[in-house]
């Protein structure tokens, strides 16, 4: 476990991302209620909780899809204002959505560069340059991929996932949010995503991993944050807790001794 020792950051380094006391309400219901989480460079942090626990909503605040009602977001120690996906991307925060958020009717390169197209000197789309870069980044993720001329609708689940990941990592992301990245994948493709996570981690990228699958999270994450009913139950190093204890956190909101309890921990 020597890799783990180097991967877990020293307390001295500043967090890559810090969300402090973040809240958001929809029609009077507090979907996220005073949650504080953090992420260090080269760290994988799992975000766990039931459906409706608020983890996707929390992450959508970080990726700019929702604006928080209350709270603060810091990137590299500096307070940032994230009001749109564009703002988040400017901060180096990239998101791979559970739905993949691909425009099905255009090809892989168009999706990878959507909103950030490469232009020629004339101001027109430089599709050839985009295709060339798409071939490069896809070659790294999915070396057998050849279907650059087809709309992504025609691709398999794993290939579509590769396109969504390529879009996130191509632009020098510092923070990667992966929302249920393996939900639609077979075992081989899931393993591939796992390999990729480890590779990105070595490059110093911080990753938020949102998942239902507690085994996935234990395989890949260094730390976990558990949410329930919009509140943070607690935070723990994966090494300090067992899977059963984490299940207890998810289901009962009960914080084990190895975890740091949050505002949502059951008394």
């Amino acid at each position: 476990m020597s890799a783990l020792a180097t991967a877990i950051p020293q307390p001295a380094t500043a967090p890559l991302v810090e969300m402090r006391d973040v809240s958001i309400a929809f029609g009077g219901i507090k979907a996220v209620d005073g949650v504080s989480i953090d992420l260090y460079p080269g760290e994988v942090v799992g975000l766990l909780g039931h459906n409706g626990a608020g983890k996707s909503t929390l992450i959508k605040i970080l990726s700019g899809a929702y604006a928080a009602d209350h709270g603060e977001i810091r990137v590299n120690g500096e307070t940032v204002h994230i009001a749109s996906p564009r703002d988040a991307k400017r901060c180096g925060i990239e998101t791979i959505y559970q739905t993949l958020a691909l425009a099905d009717n255009v090809d892989a390169a168009a999706n990878i560069f959507l909103g950030r197209e490469k232009l020629t000197a004339w101001g027109t789309l430089d599709d050839h340059a985009m295709e060339a870069e798409a071939r490069k980044v896809m070659g790294r993720l999915n070396p057998h991929f050849r279907r650059f001329k087809e709309p992504v609708k025609a691709l398999s689940g794993g290939q579509r996932q590769s396109v969504a990941i390529a879009r996130a990592i191509h632009f020098d992301a510092r923070v990667l949010i992966m929302d249920e990245p393996t939900a639609a994948l077979g075992p081989a493709e899931t393993r591939q995503v796992g390999e990729l996570v480890k590779q990105l981690k070595q490059e110093g990228i911080g990753i938020f991993l949102i998942s239902h699958d507690i085994h996935d999270v234990f395989d890949l994450a260094d730390r976990i944050h558990v949410m329930k009913n919009g509140k943070l139950v607690g935070t723990a190093r994966v090494a300090d807790v067992s899977k059963d204890e984490v299940l207890g956190m998810i289901i009962l909101g009960k914080c084990p001794p190895g975890a740091v309890p949050g505002p949502g921990a059951a008394a």
Partner: protein
């Protein structure tokens, strides 16, 4: 890169060895033609040849084809904008009314307001009129677009309201009076013998079009090859260039074999002080100005939809509005621009329609919304959004106009014409559905 033992992605058909079945199928594939577009052109050819046989050779004459192209221009121009509207999963029911309203505005402008400033037949009149039509139409469209995008009212409702509002406004401009005649130069935008450019200029336009197409094809090929991407085999590139050139030269030959009427030629010769005693020379129409406008709009809109960020965003929004939003695209602004563009094109069509009629009437463009939408749909634009081509919509407009014009030649009654066009619309969409299902 090591040879994969298991592949996640199947090899594309082009790279798979076809073995013994190599032949016509492979040759067609090498051409990389859009099979859907080839189908459309085939359907148009069947309609044309069918009517020619039924009318005993009266359909495929230079005269009929020339008129057909002029009649298609107005709807064709608007159909290019409707493609983008429908691609973004919206609809615009107000285009006929916007045409009526802007038509009245340009009519009053050039027949009443501008002559008060600088008299009749000022060479600037038509320019001001066209710019005003495009600006007014664009503003009307953008307002509707803003209501749709920022207030969240569905486009069906907003433009249904617009259908009534702008038709009413068209009446209001002159409280129902028809304005006529139009400015002499403006009138040329509508076609007719004054609105044709003649044989020599038609050849120049044709040759320029061929050269530009060839240059575009070769530049694309060079760029692709430069990046090491697969390109068409040289012979296939040659065939494509030949097809394009043949289509353009064919069009020039057709419009150049439609003679001006004898009295017109006699008047022209008398104006030049030439003797008209002997046989009169053959003077061709050449391309009609409204047709050149429509073709230019088609080329510009194709460029806009395929080669610019705006076009890319329009299609991305149509494919997945949420994904477009999450990519950081300002989807609302794009929507306002799409409807503004649609309105501006209605303004341009209003100029063509008003000039052709040589009068501005408040009923101009009535029911055009249906023809424009039908043209886009027949041309392969999907109501589900995300799919459609400008060329397809213009061919769709051509198909519909051909059906109507052919039935007029056959003496079919107007109600029966509507029945046929309606049935063709539904049938075309059904065939398209089958085609798409076959693709999957």
């Amino acid at each position: 890169m090591a040879e994969p033992s298991t592949t996640l992605s199947p090899a594309p058909p082009a790279e798979a060895p076809a073995g013994r079945r190599a032949g016509i199928g492979d040759a067609l594939r090498a051409l990389e033609l859009d099979t859907r577009m080839v189908g459309m052109i085939g359907a148009l050819a069947i309609v044309w040849i069918g009517f020619d046989i039924l009318t005993g050779g009266a359909f495929l004459t230079p005269r009929n084809l020339w008129n057909l192209s002029v009649q298609t221009a107005s709807v064709g121009v608007m159909a290019t904008g409707m493609v983008l509207v429908i691609v973004t999963r919206n609809i615009d029911l107000s285009v006929g009314s916007i045409l009526g309203f802007t038509g009245m505005v340009v009519g009053v402008l050039q027949a009443r307001l501008l002559p008060e400033i600088w008299g009749f037949d000022n060479p600037l009149t038509w320019v001001v009129a066209v710019l005003a039509a495009v600006a007014v139409g664009g503003a009307v469209g953008a307002v509707q677009g803003a209501i749709i995008a920022y207030l969240g009212v569905s486009s069906f409702i907003v433009t249904l309201g617009g259908l009534l509002v702008w038709r009413g406004a068209a009446w209001w401009v002159t409280t129902g009076q028809t304005v006529a005649p139009m400015d002499g130069l403006f009138k040329r935008l509508g076609g007719g013998f004054e609105g044709a450019i003649g044989a020599g200029p038609s050849w120049m336009v044709g040759i320029a079009a061929v050269l530009l197409s060839v240059a575009a094809i070769l530049v694309t090929r060079r760029r692709r090859a430069g990046f090491g991407f697969p390109v068409r085999p040289l012979w296939a590139e040659g065939v494509v260039i030949l097809l394009v050139a043949a289509a353009i030269v064919g069009a020039v030959l057709v419009v150049n074999s439609y003679p001006l009427p004898v009295p017109v030629v006699r008047r022209m010769m008398e104006a030049q002080g030439l003797s008209t005693d002997g046989g009169l020379p053959f003077v061709a129409h050449g391309f009609a100005i409204p047709v050149l406008i429509a073709v230019a709009v088609g080329v510009a809109m194709t460029f806009l939809s395929r080669r610019t960020r705006f076009g890319r965003y329009v299609f991305a929004i149509g494919g997945n509005p949420e994904a477009a939003e999450l990519s950081g695209i300002n989807t609302r602004r794009v929507m306002v621009m799409v409807f503004g563009l649609m309105g501006a094109l209605c303004g341009l069509s209003a100029c063509i329609a008003t000039a052709r009629l040589n009068a501005a009437t408040n009923a101009n463009g009535t029911l055009d919304e249906l023809y424009v939408i039908a043209a886009a749909i027949i041309g392969g634009t999907s109501m589900a959004g995300g799919v459609g081509t400008i060329l397809g919509a213009m061919l769709g407009a051509m198909v519909m106009q051909s059906l109507q014009s052919g039935m007029v030649l056959l003496g079919v009654d107007a109600p029966m014409q509507n029945i046929v066009v309606g049935l063709v619309l539904v049938a075309a969409v059904y065939v398209d559905t089958l085609y798409r299902r076959g693709l999957k």
